[in-house]
Symmetry: C2
Subunit: 416 residues, 2 copies
């Protein structure tokens, strides 16, 4: 069988298995999630041994240490994956939730209820813990999942999925609700993208290149996630202490994530007071500033090009510019933002109101770090990714975002 046939065949089995899962009660699904957690802990040695293979291969291939660190599974990290599955078990079941309902004038009862998508395809990179996270979230939301992890984590992913499938079966659900997509090459990604009718939704999680290629080539509906070129704008009316804390937090709290700040805009009215402080603080934290002419007047600031305004560094770098007014800040964000998360720091209600109304991003923040755009921080309990598209879901996606709806109409012989 070709990889394409393999993928389609897997999707067919997922469709059939997904029907049982869609009808499973919350009790059954939660029991399966706890069984999955128990099994990961019980078979930790197996998973670690498989992961050792991946790590060894990566080391032999000269993979950078930070990537190897993301790839490595320790007993602690496996315990974290198990806890994640238990946390999902504790969340409300989105399936069957009545979104709206009532009785129409003619006596028809109308309800819009949440239902699973059916078959979800996940395409993701390095980190093998995503395998368990995605399996748990999809299972709870009633979706069968086809997991296509990176080839660098293939042994780890295979071991994790084998453990999870056994646990799922033990809990009385079909194994095929959790499947690893075969193939180490791009062919299996292509096959998923072309599996229209077999796969209901595709969720790419990873770098900008992966996401762009899926969005452009897929005939399966896609939920685009995660590229974040996030801005912090320090307004004329900013409290500069708050501004300094927010800029530092947004840039340096964790640099490799999509909600980290990548660009700093400062109103010229506060430039003289703020720039010396923010440049010193960022540089002390190890950040390289890529600045406009004004920022360029400070030691160690390198000149910014248009490339810098559009770059998601994911590193200890930030682009920085002084703007003459709020209009120019809004215009800059309109032009360069990836519409993920953009923040204003201001004590001026009118400026905050305009910023909130005019910045068209998944999250718009006032006097808060961009790092708060996160399913956990928002209280969703679980997050499968952060959507940067406008259709279906925007911003952090929890369990409800992993469902569709249907209308249930009940009458007593009603005709028009």
């Amino acid at each position: 069988m070709s990889i394409t046939e393999d993928v389609i065949e897997g999707a067919r089995r997922a469709r059939v298995a997904g029907r049982d899962l869609a009808l499973a009660t919350r009790a059954t699904k939660d029991a399966a999630l706890h069984a999955m957690a128990d099994a990961l802990l019980a078979r930790e040695d197996e998973v670690v041994a498989a992961n050792d293979d991946d790590v060894r291969r990566a080391e032999e291939g000269g993979t950078p240490a930070n990537i190897i660190d993301r790839l490595r599974l320790t007993p602690d990290r496996i315990a974290g994956m198990a806890q994640g599955l238990r946390d999902v078990a504790g969340l409300p079941d989105p399936v069957g939730e009545v979104v709206r309902g009532g009785v129409l004038a003619n006596g028809l009862e109308l309800r819009q209820v949440r239902v699973p998508f059916g078959v979800v395809g996940m395409i993701y990179e390095a980190r093998p813990n995503v395998t368990a996270d995605a399996a748990g979230i999809c299972l709870k939301s009633g979706n069968a999942v086809l997991l296509r992890g990176s080839s660098s984590a293939r042994s780890s992913n295979a071991a994790i999925v084998a453990v999870l499938r056994d646990a799922v079966v033990g809990a009385g659900l079909p194994a095929d609700v959790v499947q690893l997509v075969p193939g180490d090459t791009h062919d299996s990604v292509k096959a998923l993208m072309r599996a229209r009718g077999h796969v209901d939704v595709l969720i790419p999680r990873g770098g900008a290149g992966l996401i762009r290629s899926v969005v452009e080539e897929s005939t399966v509906p896609v939920i685009e996630t995660g590229v974040g070129n996030c801005h912090v704008y320090v307004d004329a009316a900013a409290d500069l202490d708050k501004a300094l804390a927010i800029v530092l937090n947004a840039k340096t709290h964790r640099t490799s994530v999509c909600n980290a700040a990548e660009s700093l805009l400062v109103h010229e009215a506060v430039a003289d007071a703020f720039l010396p402080r923010v440049v010193a603080a960022l540089q002390e934290a190890g950040v390289t500033l890529h600045g406009d002419r004004v920022f360029g007047g400070y030691d160690g600031v390198v000149p910014a090009t248009d490339d810098d305004w559009s770059t998601e560094y994911l590193s200890l770098d930030i682009s920085a510019r002084v703007v003459p007014d709020l209009d120019e800040a809004l215009e800059h964000i309109r032009r360069w933002s990836s519409q993920h998360s953009d923040a204003i720091v201001t004590e001026d209600q009118a400026a905050a109101r305009r910023f909130v109304a005019e910045v068209d991003s998944a999250a718009v923040l006032v006097n808060a770090s961009t790092r708060f755009t996160d399913g956990g921080e928002f209280g969703f309990g679980a997050e499968i990714g952060i959507s940067t598209q406008k259709l279906h879901a925007r911003g952090p996606m929890g369990l409800p975002e992993m469902t569709s709806t249907k209308y249930v109409v009940v009458g007593d012989g009603h005709v028009r």
Copy 2:
């Protein structure tokens, strides 16, 4: 300029104009909708004259009478379009609606609010009244719209859009929130499908061929609408009087619409009692039955092939089959339904419950005609189409379905 450049240029102007529209108050938008209605009535002669051109051209080209009837605009139909715009003005504004919100444990205020998509592309066929309907719904939901009607209605659409744009400007909004996409050929459809980044959502309304081609070729996110291969299943425990009324209504009330029934399934336990009645009643209403072996035993019933099970006739035809049990009815619907609207007629609560749970369609109806799947019938007040996809919107789409959301996060210097 090529048609592609023309379309992109129009989308750019729509993006800029849409920003003003997105910030417009409900009062401004409602005033614009009433002005649009007033203008259509005041300039009725202009619109009718333009429509006469389209009708004459269609007649000369030998277009069938029923298509010409759909194309024709009379003073009555123009009054209907105007009333439609006033009805939309009367509906609540979806923009700014707080979908959920609260205060997080750390004091951050979190709100998810509805925002317009931005720029919507509509691709639709014959009926020129869709031009005004779509313009009204998009305007109220804060979206700029690029309208790509059929070439057969080009003079009518141009006249309607000219009238609407003047009215929009009179109400203080930019004309470019309503635009007719140039070009009579498929090139402009192609250009819309490739305008990723310029057009936020594409909504095709029309025949299966149009929708399939847009869904398959578009890189712009699509909301798929309307193909309906709808089933009525008459259960063993059906009240046969209700069943007869529902089958007749679902098939014959209006045949050219997507929520008309195209397939009849009858449980064998009631076949002897029901078939003579339903065959006679349908045939008396002018319906041709395409039946399985059992239905084939009745005069005038033609034999059904697999093609019949998958066909959306949109005419006085229905496929008909006797099934041994509910399982087989569910299996048939799983295999052949277009997942638009499927109905069960039964007095058996367990059968109804299973049907509702297991049929994965946009609308699942119990003891009610499939014809009820409609924005108007559901009380939405306006409908831009009926989505048959699972992402974003499913079933009749009203104003809220024409929006995205964003998260607004307000703190007081909050950092992680």
